[in-house]
């Protein structure tokens, strides 16, 4: 029989027992829907995680330190002791060189310091972190009450909510108020003959100059309060409670732990950085930039390997979600087998008539196969639509929940085109497999016995 005739007959047969076939198709649709919903959740969460991680700046950043820096007691010595001596310091010139490397979008120092914060007669000690202007669009400060800094040089501060609670019972009410930072400022000593003589006698180096560290105060306007810890995503590994614009922080000339080392190395005139964060265009540029920086004699660190592990975790996660989803489809395929076996019993006489009129075993088998395939195809289409609806409902519900918690909504379910097509194809294949036994049983029927059947 020609394919078109076969399809017409199959569709006609499906339409005749419309209730039973619709219920079987619905069973397939529910199976496919659960599969699609599960996998769309997996894909959605994976997309969300990789977007968030990319936006967090952890995976598109290289953290650079000078190999001269003090190494902790547990850290191994540098691989090449000679390199340690020659490794240059991280100063402004080096920062400019890094920013000219290909694929580099931003280079900024890690400025973090401990300070006293005074507000309304209260004094609290905490850690301040300088925030680059790129954080405005990176998503690190998503969900902020108030605003991000008005300009890169604004005398403004953003408070982490736990710290804000120490200053006021109503943290959001702090927005617009002023606080005072009291910190240690680093300044170059003026060239005084007496000082030089004193230094010479102390160091025996004969080098001129020196540094002074004096307490200083700065008034900042509070522009926002944030619940999450955005410092985890700025290369600071968390823990900061007050955030200030990077350029504002640089102008404060806050004394850094490596100032003394810098002074002893004879570089007291030029400011040096403990570490620089080099942002690249995309995580795939990280290895190339890292190599270039290492060749300049610096120590580097990136979290690129962590993304590979993350992908592995999500692949396993998807596999399990897919397995659970497939269970529903397996149950649905039992429904197809049941429907088709029942159809054979009911249509025994019809099969006999078809055979008496000259239908081959293959014609009969193909007819039942086509009916199973059609149920799989329709079930697949409805299932994908249903799965998408379930995923959208989950996203909707999650967004409502997150908004109630004052958090931004997220898209946790995502149905890519490959998932939709694969699910439909899978439904058809499973249905055809389910139709295999009933179809071959129908084809084997003896026409004389089938015609005798009432």
């Amino acid at each position: 029989m020609k394919t078109r005739d076969l399809s017409e007959l199959a569709i006609r047969n499906l339409r005749e027992a419309v209730l039973r076939n619709s219920l079987t198709t619905l069973g397939v649709a529910v199976g496919v829907a659960s599969l699609v919903a599960m996998l769309s959740l997996g894909v959605g969460l994976q997309t969300l995680a990789s977007q968030r991680l990319t936006r967090s700046g952890l995976f598109d950043a290289v953290f650079v330190t000078s190999q001269r820096n003090f190494r902790g007691p547990r850290q191994s010595p540098p691989p090449d002791p000679a390199a340690k001596k020659e490794s240059p310091l991280l100063d402004e010139d080096v920062r400019q060189r890094f920013s000219k490397l290909p694929s580099v979008t931003e280079v900024y120092p890690q400025i973090r310091f401990v300070t006293d914060v005074r507000y309304a007669g209260k004094s609290e000690s905490t850690s301040v972190l300088a925030v680059p202007d790129s954080s405005r669009s990176s998503g690190s400060f998503e969900g902020i009450s108030g605003n991000f800094f008005s300009s890169p040089t604004a005398d403004e501060a953003i408070l982490q909510i736990e710290f804000a609670k120490l200053l006021s019972d109503q943290p959001p009410s702090l927005v617009g108020k002023e606080l005072t930072l009291r910190y240690a400022q680093r300044a170059a000593l003026s060239k005084d003959a007496d000082d030089d003589a004193l230094l010479d006698s102390l160091t025996g180096s004969g080098k001129p100059g020196g540094i002074s560290i004096v307490p200083h105060e700065k008034n900042l306007r509070i522009v926002g309060v944030i619940e999450s810890d955005p410092s985890a995503g700025i290369g600071g590994f968390g823990g900061a409670r007050v955030y200030v614009p990077l350029k504002t922080a640089e102008q404060l000339h806050v004394a850094q732990p490596d100032d003394l080392q810098s002074f002893m190395s004879g570089n007291s005139a030029k400011p040096t950085y403990m570490a620089l964060t080099v942002r690249v265009r995309s995580p795939k540029n990280v290895p190339q930039v890292e190599t270039a920086i290492k060749e300049l004699g610096f120590a580097t660190f990136s979290l690129l390997d962590a993304t590979k592990n993350l992908r592995l975790v999500f692949t396993v996660f998807d596999l399990f979600l897919g397995l659970f989803g497939s269970l529903a489809l397996t149950v649905a395929s039992l429904g197809i087998i049941n429907t088709l076996v029942m159809a054979i019993l009911e249509r025994r006489r019809e099969i006999g008539i078809l055979k008496a009129l000259g239908a081959t075993d293959r014609d009969v088998r193909s007819l039942f196969f086509a009916e199973a395939g059609a149920m799989g195809l329709f079930g697949g289409f409805f299932g994908v639509a249903l799965g998408w609806l379930i995923g959208s409902a989950l996203t909707w519900g999650t967004t409502i929940y997150l908004r109630r918690q004052n958090l931004p909504g997220v898209k946790i379910s995502y149905v890519p085109w490959w998932l939709a097509l694969s699910a439909i194809a899978f439904a058809v294949v499973v249905s055809l497999l389910a139709g295999l036994y009933p179809a071959s049983r129908a084809a084997r029927l003896n026409p004389v016995e089938a015609l005798r059947y009432e």
Binding site: D5, A356, L357, G358, T360, V448
Partner: protein, 233 residues
């Protein structure tokens, strides 16, 4: 008078069924020749083996032993697909219970053998119309079997059997579910078709008067054996 060529040759055909330990011989060593253009009635009481013999000659069943030759091809040795092709191209069948598919209209039922034979769509329409005209049911083509009388259903089944222009028409108790008037009309139609198309007709019946009235030849079976075989006037 010229001798008509033999179309079907049954040679010591037997058909046995096994029911547990018991072997039932439905047809027992029957030998029978059917000439081209003949109207043969297989007469016998219930269980005489006439329908089983007809099924074997129609290619629906295979003999346990013996041979059935149609145009020098032994049906017992044909592959399943070849046997299906024989049923599709050489044979037309009419049953006692009409066996029209209730879900299809009359014209769809008549079109079914053409679909199976992969006849082109443009040709189908004219052949369906031709077959329905021949049985006088062109006006009822859009009706479902449940909307037709018994006689009309059997005429519809006859149109379906004729649509592929078969060489042999097998009719298994074609009047069994009809009243005497409709039964006679069907047999008249069969004889007319035999005359006009030169078709060979083999009919199973247990009604001797009808067989004597319409068939050219009557073969009588009893307990699976051929007990008499005679040409009518």
């Amino acid at each position: 008078m010229p001798i008509a060529p033999t179309l079907i040759q049954a040679e010591t055909v037997s058909r046995e069924y096994r029911l547990g330990e018991t072997v039932i011989r439905a047809v027992d060593a029957v030998s029978l020749n059917v000439e081209k253009g003949e109207f043969l009635a297989l007469l016998g009481s219930s269980g005489s083996g006439k329908s089983t013999l007809l099924s074997m000659m129609a290619g629906l069943d295979r003999p346990t032993s013996g041979a059935i030759r149609v145009r020098d091809r032994n049906l017992a040795e044909l592959e399943a697909d070849e046997l299906a092709r024989y049923r599709r191209e050489t044979v037309g069948m009419v049953f006692q219970s009409f066996n029209l598919l209730p879900r299809m209209t009359l014209e769809e039922n008549v079109e079914l053998p053409l679909r199976l034979a992969e006849v082109n769509r443009p040709d189908r329409e004219s052949r369906v119309t031709e077959a329905l005209n021949r049985v006088g049911l062109a006006a009822r083509r859009k009706h479902r079997p449940s909307e037709l009388s018994g006689g009309e259903q059997q005429r519809g089944a006859l149109a379906r059997a004729l649509v592929n222009r078969p060489a042999i028409l097998f009719a298994d108790e074609p009047t069994g579910n009809l009243d005497s008037v409709n039964g006679e009309q069907i047999l008249l139609l069969l004889r007319e078709i035999q005359g006009s198309l030169g078709m060979t007709i083999i009919m199973v019946t247990h009604e001797r008067p009808l067989a004597e009235k319409f068939a050219n030849r009557i073969a009588v079976l009893s307990d699976g054996r051929l007990v008499s075989d005679g040409v009518q006037r």
